[in-house]
Amino acid sequence: MAAVLGSCVTEDEFSNTPQGNFDALWEIVDEHYCFFGDKAAEYGLDWRECRNRYSEMLLPKMTGEQLFEVCGKMLDELRDGHVNLVAPFNTARYWDWHENYPVNFSDSLQRVYLGTDYRLTCGIKYCILPDNIGYLYVPSFEGSVGSGNLDAIFTYLRLCDGLIVDVRNNEGGLLTMAQDLAASFINEKTTVGYIAHKTGKAHDAFSAPEPVKLTPSKGMRWQKPVAVLTNRRTYSAANAFVMYMKDLPKVTVVGDRTGGGAGMPYNNELPNGWKVRFSACPTYDVHMQSTENGIEPDQHCDMLAPDFAKGEDTIIEMARELLNK
C-alpha cells in the first residue's frame, strides 16, 4: 500500500534564475538532441564540456539579454539550423549553413521566367517556359497541398517535355506536404529514406531506423524528366523532398548543395518561458546516410554574374538544357 501511495510521478524543477534556466536548457538538449554522435565525430563536440565552459559566464544578477547571449552561444556549438532559443526580444539561431555560401537565387531573375501571369495554387507558382518546359516553384512546405491542387498543376503542365521543380530558398515546413508532392513522381510504393527517434536520455539511445515509404499519388503522376533545383537555403522538409526525389529515375538535382536539416525539430521551454527548438528525430536517405549536412546535387551549378547581367538564371538555364537534351 505504501508503495502505491508513494508512486507519485515527480521530478525536480529548475529554478527561474540564470543558473536554473541555463541548467534547464542544457538538460533539455542533453536528453533530447539527436545529433550528438554525428557532431562529436564531425568536429569533436563535447556537450558536457560546453556546459562547464559556458556556465562560468553566468552571474546571479545578470540580465535576461546577457543570459540569452550565453545560452545562444552555447547552442551555437551544435552548429544546427534547427536549434533556436526564442525570447521575446531575440531569436538565437545558427544560419552558417546558408549565410556562408552563395545565395544562388534571385527573385528578380525568377520574375523574368515566371512573368506576371503565372499560375498560383497553395503557394506554388507555375508556368510553361517558351521551350515547353514546365516550371514549378515551391517556396515553402508550410501548409498543405491537396490532390486536387496537384492534379490541376500537372494537368496544366501535362504537354510539357520536362519539368523544373525549384525548391531553392525553401526552408521547409511539413514533411507530409513534401511527401504529397514527391508522391506525384512515383508509380509504385517506394522507400525514400529512413527515420528513427530517441528511446531514452542517453546520447546513443535510438530506435532502429524504419523506412519512409511513399505511396504513389492517386491523381495525375508525372512521367517525364524532372530537374530539382536546390541551393543552400533548401532546408529541413525541402531537404527531405530532395532526398525523396534524388534517387528516383528521370530526376536530376541541379544547383548547389542543400542546407541539410535532417532532424525533425521539437520544442520545449525554460522556466522563464523562452522557447527552445532542437533536432529530435534523425532521418536518413535510402543508403542510410544522414543528410543533416545537406545533399550534393547531381549537377553542381552556381549562378554566374555574367548570366545575371544578361537576365538569366544559370541554374534554371542548366536545368532547361538538361531537360531539352
Binding site: S7, L175, T176, Y266, G273, A280
Partner: protein, 256 residues
C-alpha cells in the same frame, strides 16, 4: 443474514447531473518540462441502479464525464488546452447497509459498496509551443476497483446523503509515444512500437475520488454539491505525465 439490513433508499435508481469548475495541474514531459496550472469546466453524469442479481444487492453505476481546461506554466508565456472524455461502468456489491433503527439512531444509515468495473479515457493535451510535438493524446482502458461509503442522515428536517467514492485503476492499457517519437511517425508512417503500455499502479498511482452531499428538495429530487479529484498520471517510455483535476461540483439528483 445481511438482507434485512439492506437500505431502502439505496435501492432507488439515482441519476445525477453535475457541473463543475476545475483547478488543473498538467505536466507532460513529451511536450514541456514545465508544469502547467490552470482552470476549466467539467460536466458529469452519474447513474446508479440496482440490478436483479444477488438479491438486488448488486448495483451498476455509469459515470460519463467531460473536462475542458486551459493551463499555463509559471512563466505565463504559453498555454495548454486539455480535453478529456471519461466513461466508466462498474458493478458494486452492497456489502453493508445498517438501518438507523438497528443502531438506535433515527434516520441515520451507513452503506458500504465495493466492486469493480471498466474505465475508458480519451483526451488530448495541446501545447501552444508548437513544433513537431505540439500535442499528446490520452487513450486508456483500465480495470478499476471501486469503493463507496454513504451515510444518510437528517438535518433541519431534511434528508441528506453524504457519499465518498474512490475508483482506482488496477491494470489496463494506455497509449503513449516512445520517448522521442513523433506523431508523424506513428500516424503518417504507421511506425507504432512501444505505444501501448500497461497501467502499473505501483509506478504511477491513479485515482478518481468523489465526495458528494445530496440534500433532498422533493421526494424525487435532490441538490448535490461535491468535490471530485481526478488524479491521472503515467510513467512509461521515459515520459512522465500528470493530469490532476480538482473539481468543485454542483448538480441535481433524480430518484426513479
Amino acid at each position: 443474514m445481511l438482507a434485512p439490513m439492506l437500505s431502502v433508499m439505496a435501492q432507488e435508481r439515482e441519476s445525477a447531473t453535475m457541473f463543475g469548475v476545475s483547478g488543473v495541474t498538467q505536466w507532460d514531459t513529451y511536450l514541456s518540462n514545465e508544469r502547467y496550472h490552470g482552470g476549466g469546466l467539467t460536466v458529469a453524469s452519474q447513474i446508479s441502479r440496482p440490478t436483479h442479481w444477488m438479491q438486488r444487492r448488486l448495483y451498476v453505476q455509469h459515470l460519463t464525464q467531460g473536462n475542458l481546461a486551459i493551463a499555463e506554466p509559471r512563466s505565463d508565456k504559453h498555454k495548454t488546452i486539455n480535453g478529456f472524455f471519461h466513461w466508466q461502468v462498474g458493478w458494486q456489491y452492497h456489502l453493508l447497509g445498517v438501518r438507523s433503527e438497528e443502531l438506535g439512531v433515527r434516520s441515520e444509515k451507513w452503506e458500504l459498496n465495493v466492486g469493480g468495473g471498466v474505465q475508458t479515457r480519451l483526451g488530448f493535451v495541446y501545447n501552444t509551443l508548437g513544433g513537431n510535438n505540439p500535442a499528446s493524446a490520452r487513450v486508456a482502458v483500465n480495470l478499476i476497483a471501486m469503493g463507496q461509503v454513504r451515510r444518510h442522515f437528517n438535518l433541519w428536517h431534511k434528508p441528506f446523503t453524504a457519499a465518498l467514492q474512490a475508483d482506482v485503476p488496477l491494470t489496463g492499457l494506455f497509449f503513449t509515444p516512445d520517448y522521442g517519437q513523433s506523431y508523424y511517425e506513428i500516424f503518417s508512417l504507421g511506425h507504432g512500437k512501444h505505444n501501448v503500455q500497461m497501467v502499473n499502479p505501483f509506478r504511477a498511482f491513479q485515482a478518481n475520488v468523489m465526495l458528494t452531499l445530496d440534500c433532498r428538495l422533493k421526494a424525487r429530487t435532490a441538490l448535490r454539491v461535491g468535490y471530485q479529484g481526478q488524479f491521472m498520471q503515467s510513467h512509461a517510455n521515459g515520459l512522465k505525465t500528470q493530469d490532476f483535476y480538482n473539481n468543485v461540483l454542483i448538480g441535481f439528483v433524480r430518484y426513479m
